[in-house]
């Protein structure tokens, strides 16, 4: 099945728009696409009328062009009828936003729409979902545009069983400067599930990292998913909910007790090189880091900072994850010392972590990065920055990146995330270096590169 019309529609029909009830979710979807996106959008309602100065078509048959994506936000009972009409009009795909299916016990109704779609090889996401969001292209979320953040175009694609989690993560990723290629909420995943979307995103040139929020898989669905994800050639990051074992489930064997649902889930993922994020901080850190750097590292970090305490905290975070911090040999330390500014030369600690002290200036960071780059036993630079130190300027990102990039060493930075320091943060991010608002997060960014299999 071709999912391109679903993710990159040129034309779109929104079912259920209302000429009288301006708060209807379908109206929101219609209006935002009409006003803000290049997709050609048509509103449909048997009662007709107008919306935002545009005619409302009484049926899909009346629409003057062939439709790539139908957005179906009508009452659950009407969905089979609408879907049949779409198939009759040669519509290429659909997002069924409507709720009222298996989540409220209507398996029969869900089975009916799946049967209709399968017979016609008609791809649809949902029901009970938000649908598709592709920055600058299309947005089927019924959330008022002015209440949403505007994510940048990027190379992370996010697939979520929950619409709420998806929107929330879009907001949080955007806050960390992580852009999206595609975002999709798959809801009850009646027809298209994680594995189908994975297939599409694997082939999608705009997607570099594929993230999933997963509640659970159907029978053997998990097996198919991990086997495909492990071979897809792109980093796959998964965050899972519903990890706690079901209470009161009688278990007769030790193995069944030790290999609970979540234990098996987690083991199968790691066996196939899929990165599991334990929490939201890991999720955003892993995705950001993997979206910037494709080459895996072994995890031997050179740390540079202007604060001994920051260095020590980073060392603890690294060590607990098995990331090495190789000490610089005596002769290398002496060489580095020669390049440092006079006020730092005698007081900097140069073993690794390198503590340039509060007197450190941009050029001292650059000299240190040069030394890290020359070392065979170091494969990543971690810069812990305190923007309030007088010698650190907002040009540091560009300067450090111009050293690290040519030598092929990933550069990762920690900068406190407050508006005041935005220029320093952007200086890194615009030069392709990820920035975390916490030391722990910056170490997680290193961790992500280490865990990724080529």
């Amino acid at each position: 099945m071709d999912l391109k019309p679903l993710f990159e529609p040129q034309s779109m029909a929104v079912f259920g728009v209302s000429a009288s009830n301006y708060r209807h979710p379908a109206n929101e979807i219609f209006n935002k696409n009409l006003l803000r996106y290049p997709v050609r959008v048509y509103g449909i309602n048997p009662r007709g009328g107008t919306i935002n100065g545009q005619p409302i078509y009484r049926s899909i048959a009346e629409v003057p062009e062939r439709i790539d994506l139908a957005v179906i936000a009508v009452r659950a009972d009407f969905v089979p009828e609408v879907m049949t009409a779409c198939i009759g009009a040669k519509v290429r795909s659909a997002a069924v936003i409507s709720g009222g299916f298996t989540e409220v016990g209507r398996q029969d109704l869900q089975d009916r729409i799946v049967a209709i779609a399968k017979e016609a090889s008609f791809p649809f996401v949902g029901p009970n979902c938000l649908g598709i969001y592709v920055p600058s292209l299309v947005d089927t979320f019924f959330l008022p545009g002015e209440r949403m953040v505007k994510p940048a175009v990027g190379n992370v694609s996010f697939v979520s069983q929950s619409g709420g989690i998806l929107v929330d993560q879009i907001i949080k990723f955007t806050g960390e400067g992580v852009g999206f290629a595609k975002a999709v909420s798959i809801g009850n995943k009646a027809m298209l599930g994680e594995t189908d979307i994975l297939d599409y995103l694997t082939a999608d040139p705009a997607t570099k990292v594929i993230a999933f929020y997963i509640e659970g898989f159907g029978e053997k669905e998990g097996r198919e998913f991990v086997l495909k994800a492990g071979k897809c050639g792109k980093p796959v990051v998964v965050i899972k909910s519903g990890k706690s074992p079901e209470g009161g489930k009688a278990v007769s064997s030790h193995t069944a007790s030790l290999a609970g649902d979540y234990d098996s889930f987690s083991a199968a993922l790691s066996q196939h090189g899929i990165v599991e994020a334990a929490n939201e901080l890991e999720l955003v850190s892993f995705c950001e880091s993997l979206s910037k750097y494709a080459k895996p590292i072994e995890g031997r970090v050179g740390i540079v900072t202007v604060s001994g305490g920051h260095g020590a905290m980073a060392v603890d975070a690294c060590t607990s994850r098995g990331i090495a911090i190789p000490p610089l040999p005596e002769d290398v330390r002496e060489e580095l010392r020669k390049y440092l500014s006079p006020s730092v030369q005698d007081i900097a600690a140069l073993t690794n972590p390198i503590d340039l002290t509060g007197s450190g200036i941009d050029e001292d960071f650059v000299a240190t990065a040069r030394i890290f780059c020359s070392r065979e036993d170091i494969d990543c630079v971690l810069a812990l920055l305190l923007p309030y130190v007088p010698g650190v300027t907002s040009d540091l990102g560009a300067k450090l990146s111009s050293v690290a990039r040519p030598c092929g060493m990933p550069l990762i930075a920690y900068v406190p995330n407050v508006e005041k320091y935005a220029m320093l943060i952007e200086g890194f991010e615009l030069n392709g270096a990820p920035v975390s608002p916490s030391i722990e997060g910056a170490v997680l960014m290193v961790e992500a590169l280490r865990r990724k299999r080529p």
Binding site: G218, K220, R223, S252, H254, S264, F265, A268
Partner: protein, 227 residues
């Protein structure tokens, strides 16, 4: 394994009414599949137990065989290091009083590092293989590694290397190291057996699998059948 498949399936069919394959039958099945098992017999009378003990020599192990007792140790249904006739006969009589008694399994004593080798047919991921530190405390220590079956040759050693008990296997504090090649081989054999029985089983416990410098032996096993 292919040639013995009908016999293995017959063992499973016979166990269907109990819902699980009891130890003597499970050991026959593992033996047919190519695993090492201790010399054992299912004794229905104290006399049969004594005859077998004399045949293989003391010390021996005696275990209750009952479809109603899945965890034998929990009811005092396991006696190890039995070294004399009187003790064996007395143990037999004690087991006779336990619910669902179908006989006593008498077998040779084997030593080695106690591991658990298990399988579970997971709803989402299908057959999973578990290797861990074995014994009665498995659910306390939870020193286990899990992988989706079938295992590749590369994955088998990765499993025991992931255990804290790895050091016990490699010869901890002067002990002789276990035969790790044999352990890897046992894992791969188990993995193919599990794939073969996928449709039949809910879970399998080999606990303990006793690994020494000489061999890896299935010292106890149960197979819980799928519904």
């Amino acid at each position: 394994m292919i040639g013995s498949r009908p016999e293995m399936l017959r063992i499973i069919e016979e166990a269907r009414s109990d819902g699980w394959v009891l130890e003597p039958a499970a050991k026959r099945l593992f033996s047919l599949a190519g695993f090492s098992v201790p010399r054992f017999t299912l004794a229905l009378t104290p006399e049969e137990a004594l005859v077998f003990a004399h045949e293989i020599g003391y010390p021996v192990v005696a275990k209750i065989v009952s479809p109603l007792i899945i965890h034998k140790s929990d009811v005092g249904g396991v006696a190890v290091g039995i070294a004399a006739d009187a003790r064996l006969a007395e143990t037999f009589r004690r087991f006779e009083a336990l619910e669902g008694f179908r006989g006593v399994l008498v077998e040779e004593m084997i030593s080695g590092v106690e591991l658990i080798l298990g399988a579970k047919n997971d709803l989402q991921f299908g057959p999973m293989i578990l290797l861990g530190m074995g014994g009665t405390g498995v659910e306390i220590y939870r020193d286990v590694v899990l992988k989706m079956a079938p295992l590749t040759e590369k994955e088998a050693p990765v499993m025991y290397r992931g255990l804290k008990a790895r050091r016990l296997l490699e010869g901890y504090r002067g002990a002789e190291p276990a035969d790790l090649g044999k352990l890897a081989q046992t894992l791969l054999l188990f993995s193919s057996l599990v794939m073969e029985l996928e449709g039949q089983i809910e879970s399998i416990d080999i606990n303990p699998l006793l690994c020494s410098s000489r061999d890896c032996v299935v010292a106890d096993a149960r197979i819980i059948l799928g519904k």
